[in-house]
Symmetry: C2
Subunit: 303 residues, 2 copies
């Protein structure tokens, strides 16, 4: 199966499960449910679930058995977008081609929808995936909470805010590459790492975690470099967002290094990622190809 088909297949499963789980969950306040379903149903590539599936399959599992874990990662990703778009944060009006959550439901409900998605990601992960051994589920949830939490994605967003309008700031230029790396490592790479690490952990092959982790880190950094490049080069309609990074004068690969050097750096990360994956001795070499193709696709994308 090629990468596009793999993504479509994953997205279809994840979309259906997420929508039905959230729609049928008891006790949920009706407006809150609407706000959560709105952002979860707003599309997106569902790259993180696909990476988790591919990682799990590489270690001998069947994707269908970890559908709830894959949905959990996508819920965390979605919550982070809802909170990042808030007026107090990036103040974005458009996301995936649709008005952002707070534009439709108001700020208070958007904050709560994010909180709900974040918490319920753990609820689905911990209560679902019944075919997976408790120790493996526990390990996967531990990874998710670490990568998404204050040691991970949340700190990435905090650093991103710190670096806003970096050109006017008194940060020494020497320190900017380190700050940029911190932002991208945590804001983006951490959840890409979580996805593949969880796939590995759910299979019980804990010994392979370090290698998968190194590969996923490079994929994550490259993914964000490509994102920065697309933020200035891509057709805004195709991208489905308003290119607020350049508007907000954010610290990005492009704003720091310029477009050409950013492209070269993205290529370098991509090459390093594939080199690591090719050196991985764990797992099924045939299934590994799917993970490789997914990584290549996500790093060569145009939106």
């Amino acid at each position: 199966m090629n990468a596009i088909k793999y993504l479509e297949f994953s997205a279809d499963r994840v979309n259906k499960r997420l929508a039905s789980w959230l729609a049928s969950k008891p006790f949920v306040h009706p407006e809150l449910r609407k706000a959560m379903l709105y952002s979860v149903g707003a599309g997106g590539k569902r790259l993180r679930p696909a990476l988790m599936f591919a990682s799990y399959e590489m270690f001998g599992g069947r994707a269908a058995d970890i559908l709830d874990a894959a949905c959990a990662v996508e819920m965390i990703h979605t919550y982070s977008l809802v909170h990042d778009d808030l007026p107090a944060m990036d103040d974005d009006d458009l996301r995936r081609g649709k008005p952002t959550n707070h534009k439709v439901f108001g700020e208070a409900l958007a904050i709560l929808a994010g909180d709900g998605l974040l918490t319920d990601a753990f609820s689905l992960l911990l209560s679902g995936n019944k075919k997976i051994r408790p120790e493996n589920r526990l390990k996967a949830a531990e990874i998710l909470s670490f990568r998404a939490g204050a040691a991970g994605m949340v700190s990435g967003q905090a650093a991103d805010l710190e670096a806003e309008n970096f050109q006017a700031m008194k940060i020494s230029r020497k320190k900017l590459p380190g700050l940029l790396n911190y932002i991208h490592r945590h804001k983006t790479a951490d959840m890409i790492m979580a996805s593949m690490e969880m796939g590995c952990a759910l299979s019980g092959r804990f010994k392979c975690l370090p290698k998968i982790s190194s590969f996923a880190e490079k994929v994550g950094l490259c993914f964000q470099a490509v994102d920065d490049i697309l933020d200035v080069t891509a057709d805004k309609k195709k991208l489905g967002k308003s290119g607020s990074d350049s508007k907000n004068k954010k610290l990005t690969f492009v704003s720091l290094y310029g477009l050409e050097k950013a492209k070269k750096m993205a290529d370098k990360y991509a090459a390093e990622a594939l080199e690591i994956l090719d050196s991985v001795k764990c797992g099924d070499p045939v299934k590994k190809r799917a993970l490789r193709e997914l990584a290549v696709f996500s790093l060569r994308r145009d939106r």
Copy 2:
């Protein structure tokens, strides 16, 4: 040990563990860490951890073994206060006698501090408590995510916002008691229930969960009724918050029923709670007394 000593003992352990865990956690952005530590260190009775300890001890455990789980519940409680205080929500300036998180760190960082505390609660719960069996930890985390999530506390907050300025709304008066019950059940009782249910789950006595749950629900409802009463009767300095519920014209026991009837209802819930606990046959009857005293204390408090 009487209730005050039990609370002091619990608070002391929880405060120390929370502060040291958050202070030593690697990779955390320095400003984010400050914002998280600020709200975690702003005091509070630490009632929920104490209720978890007492419930766990009633089922034969040693409180020290579930310190991380107790901290997790307090982190979730703290995050909910940080987000509830935001300008888009209750817009409170004062919490536990100190400026609220967004007043000190700004709105963006307060949102992130809340997100970090919420996510890291799971991180601490899942990576810690090593003496507890994986199945029991998994069950406890499942309970926490369910009670704190969209089927629980987050929906309580959504309903609370819906009911704001209820007097001007076109909600039929007949529907208000049901709405008030929904708010209190989810916004307050759910996390009190989570605390005691988790204590029970961590001990592995899953069969006793329903009884503990019913008891905790009544304690939670009574606790909120008392809170509503104190919001209008107590010394604001002693209470350490600004009494925003009456300012915001919130739907509360007092605004709906008046002070006298609210007091009678609180007494009724308290009596029902104790009746349920007295009928519980599970657990150690001597240790059960600590839980009873804690409940009575929290329902008779003056702040």
